[in-house]
């Protein structure tokens, strides 16, 4: 484009089996700007970055570098590096057991023998010029995460990168560390490097970025200058809801408000875990559906994990039906009638090689005890019952769960917890990555369960799902609870402005 662009991506298209991950996405990065790439889960931003860094090959589209008319092909991460596109990931991709200087230079030459004096003095120069507080001979692992992050950036810069991608670099940093990182980013910007900044923290976007590109469902929503896009607008664009059409949805869930005046099933006070959330209070009534909302990474999953004892609980009091209980590991929670469908289905949910049947009975089987297995006939009967109840599509109850589709796997996990007949069920992103039909099935099921007296906490990245199902929303930002909405406040604009926080 007219400004001196360092990178132009035009009409990028990428499909995976069953998913059209990128649909004709355009993206432009100018020289010396910090450009935020925003979007919720499944928006396609990480796919776009992987196409740019050569991890994935694109199906269609062209990539131009620094105004060259000729499109470039990026086939591997090495290709990308040679073309001056460097990435710094959330997890440090350096070797913590090597020295700072070694991390800067290893893998960059073909020479057998290395001139360590030169490498150390060169590293020293770079570290000084970028004001990074580290010594070349220091072991990388002894630096703070922020400094490691900066060293990764320094390596990228020293390899003469023109495009620097920072993929959620700040998620494990504290405030001072973030400040240091931002200073470095501004320095680089002044040197003419184009920076793509991926983050979930809105405050940070408004602090350092010049422009924002918003993506949703694999499509480009738009590119905006930072001053043209107030926070609430940004949130609404990420969630895909115009501020004006927020009124209609409310009212649907009034029928389930009855939970509000029932006795609390679970009350928690000052609950905190080692996963980095601030202490929070929480309660849920009988037959109530409530939810944690907030952008990805705001700490909503960590909160429910703490309630279930999945992370190490470091403080707080919990009462079930008025009686104090101690929940320090999942089995404690289960014995108290709590069920938990985890966010990451693959890692925390399914037991891949086991059959659908075994996956369904697993939790109840653990509760029943080691010496009381279900007989084969019982297990089959239970499995068939739930397969029918939730219309799980599987060849038989003997099929390994890993060969089912995502939505059906999720239903199996749901069946697992329903079978334990919990008093209180936590559903963390039960609708992620599954087809629309199943999503609606699950929402309906949640409401039905609540009407039968079960309490449910529901978490979803999709706001309208939350508004449709929950009668009370706990809003989170930057790993702490920032508000609680119910009744008339349950509308999109109010939720979004609470999520966005800060100045309107």
């Amino acid at each position: 484009m007219k400004d001196e662009s360092v990178l132009e991506m035009r009409g990028i298209d990428k499909s995976f089996p069953g998913v059209h991950a990128l649909q004709g996405v355009d993206f432009t990065l100018r020289k010396g700007e910090i450009h935020a790439l925003m979007g919720e889960n499944g928006a396609g931003k990480s796919t776009l970055i992987k196409v740019l860094t050569g991890v994935y090959s694109k199906d269609e589209g062209k990539i131009y570098l620094e105004g060259n008319d000729k499109a470039v092909e990026i086939r591997s991460p090495q290709d990308a590096q040679r073309l001056g596109i460097s990435t710094v990931y959330q997890e440090i991709t350096l070797c913590p057991n090597l020295s700072v200087a070694e991390n800067m230079y290893i893998g960059r030459t073909e020479n057998m023998l290395l001139n360590w004096k030169k490498i150390n003095s060169d590293t020293d120069k770079i570290l000084k010029s970028l004001d990074i507080p580290a010594k070349p001979t220091q072991q990388l692992g002894s630096c703070s995460i922020a400094v490691q992050q900066m060293i990764a950036i320094a390596r990228a810069v020293d390899m003469e990168c023109r495009v620097l991608i920072l993929d959620e670099p700040t998620s494990s940093l504290d405030e001072q560390e973030v400040a240091k990182l931002f200073k470095l980013m501004r320095d680089l910007k002044a040197k003419g490097v184009g920076i793509i900044f991926v983050t979930h923290f809105l405050d940070q976007v408004y602090e350092v970025c010049d422009r924002i590109t918003v993506m949703r469902d694999g499509k480009l929503v738009g590119e905006y200058a930072i001053k043209d896009l107030p926070r609430v607008q940004l949130v609404s664009k990420m969630l895909g809801k115009e501020l004006d059409d927020m009124a209609d949805i409310h009212g649907e869930q009034t029928a389930y408000d009855k939970g509000a005046d029932m006795a609390p099933v679970l009350e928690a006070e000052g609950l905190v875990s080692d996963a980095g959330i601030k202490p929070f209070d929480f309660h849920i009534n009988k037959g109530e559906v409530n939810g944690f909302t907030g952008l990805l990474g705001s700490g909503r999953s960590e909160c429910v994990r703490t309630i279930f004892g999945a992370d190490r609980v470091t403080g707080g009091k919990v009462k079930m039906n008025g009686k104090p209980v101690k929940i320090s590991k999942p089995i404690d929670a289960m014995r108290n009638g709590i069920g938990y469908l985890p966010e990451d289905r693959k890692i925390d949910g399914i037991v891949g090689d086991l059959s659908v049947r075994d996956n369904i009975i697993l939790a109840q089987q653990v509760l029943k005890g080691f010496f009381k297995p279900f007989s084969k006939a019982e297990a089959n009967k239970i499995a068939d019952e739930y397969i029918k109840l939730l219309s799980i599509k599987t060849a038989s109850s003997d099929t390994p769960i890993k060969s089912l589709s995502g939505g059906n796997q999720q239903k199996v996990i749901l069946a697992r917890w329903l079978f334990t007949h919990p008093e209180y069920l936590i559903l963390d992103e039960p609708t992620r990555g599954i087809d629309v039909g199943t999503k609606i099935d699950i929402q309906k099921l949640v409401l039905k369960l609540a009407s039968e007296g079960m309490s449910v906490t529901f978490i979803s990245s999709e706001l309208d799902e939350m508004l449709r199902t929950c009668s009370r929303l706990i809003v989170m930002r930057d790993r702490k609870v920032v508000g609680e909405l119910s009744g008339d406040d349950l509308n999109q604009s109010k939720v979004m402005s609470t999520i966005a926080g800060g100045d309107k």
Binding site: N97, G107, Q139
Partner: protein, 352 residues
């Protein structure tokens, strides 16, 4: 706010014990511990048990008896630094001893060719195992466990009965003693006897120095550490991870070849039961010398002192009157167990 403060304090507390240690690399920290442990042990033995340990030759005998183990342990350290393991070295040593013995005595071979045979056997094991581990991505433990059994079995197939080598040139080489200048002691007859080392010790010292330099200063050496530290990161940094793993196993094989020949030179015989448990000793020495099982941390110098510590403690146990055979095995296992647990605690701490 409070949580971010917590994080900051926990970070600084986990970083190290003090400012000096904080700035030390893991490798150097563990190396220092090993060297200190060795000297404390040896000097303690000199003070408490006196006589035997005061003679320089006692120390050089430890070297003479363990030259082969030092070389084998160096190979193991390299593989362990890349995050792998090789338990075939003991079996390979036995196979080499037997093959060389058979070649020298039954086929009237010459010593130089027998050295070549030793190297070829070691390299063959290294290349084959390295290929399976690096390029076919099979667990190194299973591969080298099979390698160990294969080598032991082959030893018997080459020749069943143990026998001493009578080849003249070889016996002459075996008997060669190199005096250590300025070191010696007065024997019972009142005669001054110079302390000596065998040829194997010279070879072992050269191996230690060469591989110490390779690991510390060359690109290849640093790649071993990078791959062991975090293979995913190493890939991102542009290192050929598979090739690095492969080379580590080949080097370990080569060193098993050299070590096997040195062992053969020391014992001068072939037997299927030679070097039994040598792989365990080598692993134990590497671990005691500060090589982390998880890879990425270790030092050849540490391994050298690891071997010395291991045999010193056995000498101490023996001269304390606990000379029954089983004490050796139990002492080794206890030491290995202690250091393994220390490592696992260190790793667990770091992860926090």
């Amino acid at each position: 706010m409070s949580s971010s403060n917590n994080k900051a304090t926990s970070k600084s507390s986990s970083a190290g014990l003090g400012a000096k240690i904080k700035n030390m690399t893991d490798t150097n920290l563990l190396l220092t511990i090993t060297i200190v442990v060795f000297f404390v042990m040896y000097i303690g033995a000199m003070i408490i048990q006196g006589a035997g340990f005061l003679k320089p030759q006692t120390f050089f005998n430890i070297l003479n008896a363990n030259a082969a183990l030092i070389i084998l342990s160096c190979g193991l350290s390299i593989v362990m630094i890349t995050g792998g393991i090789d338990i075939s070295v003991g079996g390979v040593t036995a196979l080499i001893s037997m093959s060389c013995a058979v070649y020298l005595d039954y086929h009237n071979g010459n010593v130089a060719t027998s050295l070549l045979i030793a190297l070829a056997i070691g390299l063959a094991f290294g290349v084959f195992q390295g290929f399976l581990v690096a390029y076919l991505d099979i667990q190194p433990f299973i591969v080298t466990l099979a390698g160990m059994f294969f080598a032991r079995g082959m030893t018997t197939i080459v020749n069943t009965a143990p026998f001493n080598v009578a080849n003249e040139a070889f016996v002459a080489l075996k008997g060669t003693r190199i005096n250590v200048p300025g070191m010696g002691s007065v024997n019972k007859l009142g005669k001054y006897v110079n302390a000596y080392v065998e040829i194997g010790v010279i070879v072992a010292l050269i191996v230690v120095i060469v591989f110490f330099c390779i690991l510390k200063w060359t690109k290849l050496g640093r790649s071993f550490y990078a791959v062991g530290g975090n293979s995913q990161s190493a890939l991102m940094l542009g290192i050929n991870v598979k090739r690095t793993r492969f080379i580590a196993h080949v080097l370990c094989g080569l060193l098993a070849g050299i070590g096997g020949f040195v062992y053969f030179l020391h014992v001068g015989s072939g037997s299927a039961s030679h070097a039994s448990g040598a792989e365990m000793d080598a692993i134990a020495a590497s671990i005691i010398g500060g090589t982390m099982l998880t890879g990425g941390v270790g030092n050849i110098l540490g391994t050298f002192f690891g071997v010395l510590s291991l045999s010193t403690i056995q000498n101490i146990v023996a001269s304390a009157g606990l000379d029954q055979a089983w004490w050796t095995g139990i002492t080794r296992a206890v030491m290995l167990c202690i250091f393994l647990i220390i490592q696992s605690v260190v790793i667990a701490r770091k992860k926090k």
